[in-house]
Each structure stands twice: as structure tokens, then as C-alpha cells.
């Protein structure tokens, strides 16, 4: 995101806002869809997220393109988490101990990105959310626990289960992580 575009958006320039939307709507929709696995929900989250982006731009201190994009993505992720909280996705997750974290390495090199993306979508809501937050967004378990209202150990065990499930999916596709 160019700083000039951000400045124009801050001034309320509609053309600039539209340009920002056109430029990032696809990417942000991907983010939302990865969490919500439902096009309508993802579309709603995207719209709400952009409204919040335009509202919050005045508080954004532009440092770099990456930082600005990361800020927008964070807003989208939060919108998605709000959707999931409303669906009480995380209330059913029982307290678990998070051990045996050495298993389930996903052989990314052997897969097309779209294949990985599609496999992530096949994960149940809880697994998928934690997998997205930990692996794709890069949060740690403490942050995830705080975001979702679950313990760190629960987050770890959910991630572990998500990885095992992904391995199973890969096995079904005939892909193993032997190397």
C-alpha cells in the first residue's frame, strides 16, 4: 500500500478508498474465507473489515507497505474471529493438555498452494482457526489463548490435532512427509 493512497484515504477520498478496496478485496477475502469457510460469512466479514479499515485509517501511522497490509489483515482476522465467537465455535473446545508436539510436519514443498488452502478449509472450525492463527498468522499459543478465551494448552492440543488431521488428508492424497 502506497503512503499516498493511505493519505488520500485518510482524507476521505472516495476514489482512493475504492482503489484500496479493489486492490485488497481479493486478498482479504481469501483471509476471511480461510477462517470462515463460507462465502457469505466471508463477504460480510470483508465488508465490515473494510468499513473498520476506513474508519481506523486516521489512527494508522504509516511505516511501510508491509506494516499497512499487516494492519489491514489483522482487522480482517479480528472480524472473522468475531464471527466465529458469535457462532460459539470455541466454547465447545474442552481443556486439554498440549503434549506430543513433535508430530505432523506438513510437506509444503510437494504441494500446490491451492491444495494446501483447500485442505485447511476442510479442517473443523476450531482446528482451522488455531491452525490459521498459529501457522499462517504467526501468533503464539498465549496470544491465541487470549484471543479465543481458551488456555494455551488447549490451543497447543488443537493445533496438534489440526496437524494430524492435515497429515491424514495428505495421506489420503498419497503424499507423505517421509523426507
Amino acid at each position: 500500500v502506497d503512503e499516498s493512497l493511505i493519505i488520500l484515504c485518510k482524507r476521505g477520498d472516495e476514489k482512493a478508498q475504492r482503489e484500496l478496496y479493489d486492490k485488497f478485496s481479493g486478498k482479504m477475502f481469501r483471509v476471511c474465507y480461510r477462517y470462515l469457510q463460507n462465502q457469505m460469512d466471508a463477504e460480510d466479514a470483508l465488508i465490515n473489515g473494510f468499513v473498520k479499515i476506513f474508519q481506523g485509517l486516521n489512527n494508522l501511522e504509516y511505516r511501510s507497505k508491509e506494516a499497512a497490509e499487516g494492519w489491514m489483515k489483522k482487522i480482517m482476522v479480528n472480524e472473522c474471529l468475531m464471527f466465529l465467537r458469535k457462532k460459539k465455535t470455541f466454547s465447545g473446545i474442552s481443556e486439554e493438555t498440549g503434549n506430543d508436539m513433535e508430530s505432523a510436519v506438513i510437506p509444503v514443498d510437494d504441494l500446490e498452494v491451492e491444495e494446501i488452502y483447500a485442505m485447511i478449509l476442510k479442517l473443523p472450525d476450531g482446528y482451522r482457526t488455531i491452525f490459521n492463527l498459529y501457522v499462517i498468522e504467526g501468533y503464539n499459543h498465549r496470544e491465541i489463548g487470549a484471543q479465543l478465551g481458551i488456555s494455551e494448552n488447549t490451543s497447543k492440543s488443537q493445533l496438534h490435532k489440526a496437524r494430524i488431521m492435515l497429515q491424514k488428508l495428505l495421506t489420503q492424497k498419497g503424499i507423505t512427509n517421509e523426507k
Binding site: 478496496y21 462465502q39 510436519v105 491451492e114
Partner: protein
């Protein structure tokens, strides 16, 4: 290994910037929804802002009405002003404070004989209460009715009480209508004597009150060798720089003095053979203030250079508004300038300046004071502003300092500008 794979996966996934395969989305419709949501939020924000401003405006208007709603009318007829009597004021104050200390001022004769204070409730007369008619906002009255409505109506005081005209009117605050707070001044009417206050002036005990003494002003040698000594009394019955608490300058206490010519022989010294020359009566030097209010403080500020006639420490509540008032009168018969006075709190002037006229009627002086956030003790004082060269003999009475409940006072701030 796992971390490496995760990082690679993160990079790949985050680089996806198109809609997933198999899905189509209407970008334009999404944009329209965003604009619609933005407008709805802006409308809500605008409504909230307007509502907030409306609440603020309503609060300000309410406060303004409470503050200014009973403001003094621009036109107050002289005869109506004349009906504003000090006894009514005093009575109102005392009436309000019956639960604390209400007693009639003892007659001076009773006091002299018994030295005791008879506590007798003063009869309450309902017709002395004051009434304000405030015009309503919805009905526009005729010009006459408007004028009438804008006029403060004060019932006539009993005939035995002469009128009191105070500059409190000019200040927009009327002590007679002061809200019902307890007078925080102890002995503000001086009925208890010289207690409950301090003064920069010297107290002359009542019984030792020096009513006058002769002062030799000239000595001249006569043709026959004798000397003429002209002696006149002190002009004031109270020594300059002193004060007394009295219930009036009675004839005995303020006897007429005489200019006396004494002839004595050429020895230059007074001797039994000296003869008394003619005596010329000197006019009475002090008169009682009107109306009679019982005991009062009388001070001779004559070239004293002192400032605080009366002062005392008062405990106050923080962030609270108080009214402060007293009455003053010139009691000198020879003064050409009785002086100017002010009310002060912690040395700061809180009233207008009262220039006492030559008449002997009581004049009221009032002001207001709002305590600070952490203020609990203050010093209130009644001070002389300009000490005239001589003959400044002034009476002081009815000192009142009381709390005004919030919203009850109706004084315009600008009227307190010093």
C-alpha cells in the same frame, strides 16, 4: 523442520491474493455495501454528536435559567426601592434562623440595668416577605403587564421601620431574599458584645467609653495680661483608631461640649484666681443610625491607617457559594466624607465599593464568594477603603455570611466585576 515448513506455508498462503478457485464474488456489490455501512455509521455518529450537543445545550440553558432566571429588573421604581426595609431583612434572616439563635435585641435600658440578654423571639410578620414575579416564556404579556412582571414587588415594611437603600440592588443580589442558610458569623448583630470577631481597631470597653475630652487648641495673651485658653472637645466621642459596641449614642454618653475660654493671671499658669469665660455649645458629634437596630459597632477610622474594621475566620465547604453582607451607616454629624467600604475574603474584594452618604440611614453592602476545591477556612473582613482625613465615624451591624444552595442565586457574574 516444522518451523521451516510453517514459515514456507505461511508465505505461500499469504501470497494468495485472488478469490479461491470455484468462487465468484461481486466486487461492486461489496463496495456498495461498504459505502452504505459507512453512511449508516456516519449518521449514527452524527446523531450521537447532535444528541450530546443537545444534552449539553439543555444543561447550559437550565443552568442559565437557574442562574439568571430571577435577574434584577432593569427598572426599579424609587418608591418600590424605598419599601425595601432593613428590619424586613433582619427579620427574614432571624426568622430563618429560629432554630439556632433568634432573639430580640434588648432595649438599651434593660441592658444597662441587668447586663443580661433576654432571648425573646421577635414576632414574625408575614407581610414582609418578598415576592418575585417571573414572566413566562409562552405568554407574551402586554407592555404594562410586562413592566409589572419585571418589577420586583416588595410589600411595604411596617411604618416604624424607616427605609433602607443598599447598593445590594445594584449588585443584583438581595440579602433579604438570601436563601435559607445558617449565618456562619457569630454575633453578627453585636448583641453579645465584643466577642466572636477581630478588628484592626482598638476596642474601648463600653463602660469606659470616652465621650469626649477638652483639648487646648490655642492660648493667647490678653491685653490685661491674662491668657485666653480656648479648649474644644475631641470631635469624635470615640477616640480615633478605636471602636465601641453600643446600642446608641444617648444624650448622656454624647453630651454637648463647650468651647471654653479661661482667663487666668499673667503668671501664665492656671490658678484658682482664674475666671471662667463664656462658653459656647458645640454641636453633638455623633448620632444614632436609623433605624434603631439594637447594638452595633461604631468605629472612628479617623486617620487610623487601619483597614479591617471587622474580620474573622470562617469554616467553609469546598466548591460552595456563600453570600456575605452587612449594613453600614455614617453616624458622624460633622463628616464631609464618611468613607468607602468593601467586603473581602482572604483580602480579596468580593463586593462593590459602598460610598457611604452623609445621611445616617443604614446602607447594605453585599457580595458573594465561592470557595475553592480544597478550601475549608477563609478570612472574611469588612474593610475601609479610603480613610478620610477626619470625622469618619461609622456604624456597622447585621453581618451575615451564609451558604447559598446551588442554583438558588441569580446574580449575574459580570455584575461582580470589581
Amino acid at each position: 523442520m516444522k518451523n521451516k515448513m510453517d514459515a514456507l506455508l505461511r508465505e505461500k498462503i499469504n501470497n494468495l491474493d485472488t478469490v479461491p478457485p470455484g468462487l465468484t464474488r461481486d466486487n461492486e456489490a461489496g463496495w456498495e455495501k461498504i459505502k452504505k455501512n459507512q453512511k449508516a455509521i456516519a449518521g449514527k455518529t452524527d446523531f450521537v454528536k447532535k444528541a450530546a450537543w443537545g444534552i449539553i445545550l439543555a444543561a447550559v440553558l437550565t443552568e442559565a435559567f437557574l442562574f439568571y432566571g430571577f435577574e434584577k429588573p432593569e427598572e426599579v421604581k424609587k418608591e418600590e426601592r424605598g419599601t425595601y426595609s432593613s428590619p424586613a431583612t433582619e427579620k427574614t434572616e432571624m426568622q430563618l434562623e429560629q432554630t439556632t439563635a433568634v432573639y430580640a435585641k434588648p432595649d438599651s435600658k434593660e441592658r444597662k440595668t441587668t447586663q443580661e440578654k433576654t432571648v425573646t423571639p421577635r414576632p414574625v410578620q408575614s407581610d414582609t416577605s418578598m415576592k418575585i414575579i417571573v414572566p413566562t416564556a409562552t405568554v407574551k404579556p402586554s407592555a404594562d403587564k410586562q413592566k409589572e412582571a419585571n418589577t420586583i414587588k416588595v410589600p411595604k415594611a411596617p411604618a416604624r421601620y424607616p427605609s433602607l437603600i443598599g447598593n445590594a440592588w445594584e449588585e443584583g443580589f438581595r440579602p433579604a431574599m438570601a436563601p435559607q442558610g445558617k449565618n456562619l458569623v457569630q454575633n453578627g448583630t453585636f448583641e453579645e458584645g465584643n466577642v466572636g470577631f477581630k478588628s484592626d481597631f482598638r476596642f474601648l470597653p463600653h463602660e469606659d467609653f470616652v465621650v469626649g475630652y477638652t483639648q487646648i487648641v490655642s492660648v493667647s495673651t490678653q491685653i490685661n495680661g491674662s491668657q485666653q485658653v480656648i479648649a474644644i472637645p475631641q470631635i469624635s466621642p470615640i477616640i480615633a483608631g478605636s471602636y465601641i459596641i453600643t446600642d446608641g449614642f444617648s444624650h448622656q454618653k454624647n453630651r454637648q461640649f463647650y468651647s471654653t475660654t479661661i482667663y487666668h493671671d499673667s503668671s501664665g499658669f492656671l490658678s484658682p484666681s482664674d475666671s471662667l469665660g463664656s462658653s459656647i455649645p458645640i454641636v453633638q458629634t455623633a448620632v444614632n443610625p436609623v433605624p434603631s437596630m439594637g447594638s452595633f459597632l461604631a468605629v472612628n477610622i479617623n486617620i487610623s491607617g487601619k483597614q479591617r474594621i471587622w474580620y474573622n475566620s470562617i469554616s467553609v465547604k469546598p466548591n460552595t457559594t456563600y453570600s456575605f453582607s452587612c449594613i453600614l451607616a455614617n453616624v458622624s454629624t460633622q463628616s464631609s466624607n464618611p468613607g468607602a467600604f468593601k467586603l473581602c475574603v482572604n483580602g480579596e474584594k468580593v463586593s462593590k465599593t459602598l460610598d457611604l452618604p452623609l445621611t445616617n440611614e443604614w446602607r447594605s453592602l453585599s457580595g458573594m464568594f465561592t470557595s475553592g476545591r480544597y478550601q475549608t477556612t477563609i478570612e472574611i473582613s469588612i474593610e475601609d477603603i479610603q480613610s478620610p482625613i477626619f470625622n469618619n465615624l461609622v456604624a456597622l451591624d447585621n453581618i451575615i455570611f451564609k451558604e447559598i444552595p446551588p442554583g438558588e442565586f441569580r446574580k449575574k457574574k459580570e455584575r461582580f466585576s470589581k
